[in-house]
């Protein structure tokens, strides 16, 4: 009966047909949030001002907290594999408010370690994954080159056979952690003349203290706390055992590992969008213009409503992609096309959006939005990487178009 009608809006739910996080994950979320609040967030403003953070201390602290091993097996020091747990960590990590810091941690845990875990043999895992999970060494992933932005097949770094060794020559750029990594998973052409260029590429794990490796940090619009860099390899000699996976399998490995890169970027961007919107609203409620709180102006209220709606939509898609990825990782029979579409669409839906939210956050701050003392400008600069990095928005559309036969 109507008298019993309860019209209390619900705020969170965990259903039977669209499950995602379990109770255990919500418990983990609390401890992730506490860790971020206690161990990372308090230092961020100082680190950002210095454009640097203490590498070993931070990676080891995060490793000791267990946050680098959620996706990996206990055998190598992890606590998983549980991608959902790691998704919770990524959502909470956004609360550092520093995309650059998060990028360095992510390039290590979500890219470099992932490749070693999925494509390496036990020797690789012992040498790179175990200390990586502990935060004792820092890895990076090297694909992009100065002359081949989004065109993986077009890379020119090459490795030539020399006896039992390989000798690597070339250049990589826009490599997160590239300026200070201990080791790097490197995409190189081992058979540049291959008829099928997709079989031309192999992966190596290369220690950066080898002769012939040069690392240099890049200055960028945002992500200034990250140690994104370029690397040169001049006749760098590595043993055959440095090869990750089979010779010529590099392209396929990269394509397969893109799924998690895109999902993790989507989680980061949709969560950042949400946090940024909350910050914008908080400021709008407090700041007055023309004698009233900015948040009371209808144009701002409606703009916030639109952004909240778009964030909800993008996050729903991100969670869908995450569900498919987890199902795929846990042995379910996931349609590879559906997975590829969901992950590419999620990246495309989230990255530009996160920037647009940050741009409105700057706008609502007025003159203060332009000031370095407020974090709005940093979120805005940082978010702008999203539609460029990890495959531009345009590349996502190209990838999607292929799945539709266009």
């Amino acid at each position: 009966m109507a008298a019993d009608l309860d019209l209390t809006p619900t705020t969170a739910a965990q259903g039977t047909r669209l499950p995602l996080y379990a109770e255990e994950h919500e418990a983990l979320r609390a401890s992730a949030r506490a860790f971020v609040a206690n161990e990372l967030a308090p230092h961020v403003e100082a680190w950002e001002a210095a454009e640097d953070f203490p590498r070993d201390e931070v990676f080891r602290t995060v490793g000791a907290g267990g946050w680098l091993g959620l996706k990996f097996d206990e055998r190598w020091g992890g606590s998983g594999p549980d991608y959902l747990a790691h998704a919770v960590w990524l959502e909470e990590l956004v609360r550092t408010g520093s995309a650059g810091l998060n990028a360095d941690l992510g390039a290590h845990a979500d890219l470099a370690l992932l490749y070693v875990d999925r494509n390496g043999d036990d020797q690789h895992k012992e040498r790179y994954l175990r200390p990586g999970i502990a935060g004792e060494t820092v890895g990076a992933l090297g694909i992009t080159e100065p002359g081949a932005g989004s065109d993986v097949a077009g890379i020119t770094t090459r490795a030539r056979r020399d006896g039992d060794d390989w000798v690597i020559t070339g250049e990589k750029t826009f490599i997160t952690n590239g300026a200070w990594c201990d080791w790097i998973v490197l995409a190189v052409k081992t058979d540049p003349e291959a008829a099928d260029q997709h079989r031309a590429i192999s992966l190596f794990v290369v220690d950066t203290d080898l002769p012939g490796v040069q690392q240099q940090r890049l200055k960028m619009l945002g992500w200034r706390l990250s140690h994104t860099g370029q690397l040169r390899f001049d006749d760098v000699r590595v043993p055959a055992s440095a090869m990750l996976g089979a010779e010529g399998s590099g392209f396929l490995q990269i394509m397969q590992n893109f799924a998690w890169e895109r999902v993790s970027m989507s989680i980061g961007a949709s969560t950042a969008a949400q946090r940024t919107l909350e910050a914008a609203i908080a400021y709008a409620k407090e700041r007055h213009a023309f004698g009233r709180p900015i948040a009371s102006f209808q144009v701002w209220r409606h703009r916030f409503a639109d952004l909240a709606t778009r964030i909800a939509t993008a996050r729903a898609l991100t969670y869908h992609a995450l569900r498919l990825h987890v199902a795929n990782e846990t042995g379910h029979d996931v349609d590879p096309i559906a997975l590829m579409r969901a992950t590419a669409m999620a990246k495309l839906s989230t990255q530009r959006l996160a920037f647009e939210v940050a741009d409105e956050c700057v706008q609502v701050h007025g003159g203060y939005g332009y000031m370095m003392e407020y974090p709005a400008q940093r979120w805005w600069r940082d978010a702008r990487l999203g539609p460029i990095g990890g495959g531009t928005d345009e590349i996502m559309k190209e990838i999607l178009a292929k799945t539709y036969g266009l």
């Binding site: 109507a2 259903g15 778009r310 036969g405």
Partner: protein, 396 residues
């Protein structure tokens, strides 16, 4: 490790079971075999036969979530989702809308708030399609603002006497009864308008004093009949009151959730259908000697569409999941209403651009879908109203 895959989902990542998929097949066959072939003609006629309601009832599509004891299928809300999705293949926004009014707008309040007698008198024949229902909320001077309705019911010894009018009432020309929002007492404050003092009624359209003032001529959804209704000393018995007197505003707020949700599901389904038409055309049609789908701009246009449709569908499913579990998910519902109304017209417009001159021509069905889909940003609460709801829920 915790699993994110429901045991009975037939496709990973989707909320549907085998039972849903079998229903999907049945709805699709009906839509493709019995609706689509007639859609153009019905639009030209500015009418579709009442028989469509009875056939939908016969097939069990009007009571998917109604308990079996009232003639329904007793299914969950995902059955409704399946029906709304597949009806898009009938290529008739008019029919989809008319059926949605019947099963997901005018009758759910009867099941939720009605007496057993009301359920027998109205719900049961609505499930079979014997009675056609309409929903009377909007008035000429109260478009998006339910609280400002002026249609009044005056208590008399043996019932109520209703005076007033209703506007933009889908199924209003042919309906057998109307689930109607009426002011039974002045609002507590101000000018006597406001959310208090509103009640719901079930009103037979053959009563004296119930007039269909006119059948409205719309730019789209032309096979669907939309009426302006007026009521002059319309006498209804006590038993016409639906639910609790004075609780009508709350009751209709609840109803609006289901209304907006089904419109959102239909909007995404329509957008998906249009995307598929665009994709097909982009492969077939040539310009400058190659398929237009090979031009990067058209390719990216289609992928933008696919991405937005894909994203919107996921939020709709989340809202459906909540509704299915009985939650009052007003925030999510307003968001999906806002998002999908914009989506469906935007997709239709992009596909029209892809089709070029043929998109503009009535030879191709694109322009009709374009006109039809534009209603979503207006009906069931405009975009602006949804933004008001969402921002208020954010504490703004």
């Amino acid at each position: 490790m915790h699993t994110v895959v429901p045991d009975d989902a037939v496709r990973i990542g989707e909320p549907f079971t085998e039972e849903h998929e079998s229903l999907r097949g049945a709805v699709r066959r009906w839509a493709e075999d019995e609706i689509a072939p007639n859609a153009e003609q019905w639009e030209a006629d500015e009418w579709f036969p009442d028989e469509v309601f009875r056939r939908a009832g016969e097939l069990g599509f009007l009571g998917l979530t109604v308990p079996e004891r009232y003639g329904g299928q007793g299914g969950d809300y995902w059955s409704t989702v399946v029906r709304a999705e597949e009806l898009a293949r009938g290529r008739s926004g008019s029919v989809s809308m008319a059926l949605a009014v019947q099963s997901d707008m005018a009758t759910p309040p009867i099941l939720k708030f009605g007496t057993e007698q009301q359920k027998q008198d109205y719900l049961v024949p609505s499930v079979t399609g014997e009675k056609i229902a309409c929903l009377g909320i909007t008035e000429p001077e109260a478009g998006s603002d339910v609280a400002r309705i002026r249609t009044r019911a005056q208590r008399v010894s043996d019932g109520w006497v209703i005076n007033g009018s209703k506007m933009f009432i889908t199924n209003g020309v042919r309906a057998d009864y109307c689930t109607m929002v009426v002011r039974t007492s002045p609002a507590d404050e101000g000018d006597g308008l406001g959310w208090s003092g509103i009640s719901l009624f079930l009103v037979d359209t053959d009563l004296d004093g119930f007039h269909v003032s006119r059948k409205l001529d719309k730019v789209g959804m032309r096979a669907s009949d939309t009426a302006e209704l007026s009521f002059t000393d319309l006498h209804v018995p006590d038993t016409a009151l639906l639910g609790t007197e004075g609780q009508g505003f709350k009751q209709i707020m609840w109803e609006l959730q289901g209304e907006r949700l089904i419109s959102a599901i239909g909007a995404v389904a329509g957008a998906q259908f249009m995307f598929e038409r665009g994709l097909e055309y982009s492969r077939q049609r040539h310009a400058f000697g190659r398929p237009i789908g090979s031009f990067q701009v058209q390719k990216h246009r289609l992928m933008d569409i696919a991405t937005r449709v894909g994203a919107s569908r996921r939020l709709v499913y989340e809202a459906c999941d909540r509704w299915n579990r009985g939650e009052y998910a007003i925030n999510e519902v307003a968001m999906v209403k806002l998002d999908t109304a914009q989506l469906s017209f935007w997709v239709a417009d992009e596909v029209m651009q892809l089709f070029g001159g043929y998109g503009y021509s009535q030879e191709f069905p694109i322009e009709r879908a374009w006109r039809d889909s534009r209603l979503m940003r207006i009906g069931g609460g405009t975009d602006e109203v949804q933004r008001e709801i969402i921002s208020k829920l954010m504490g703004l």
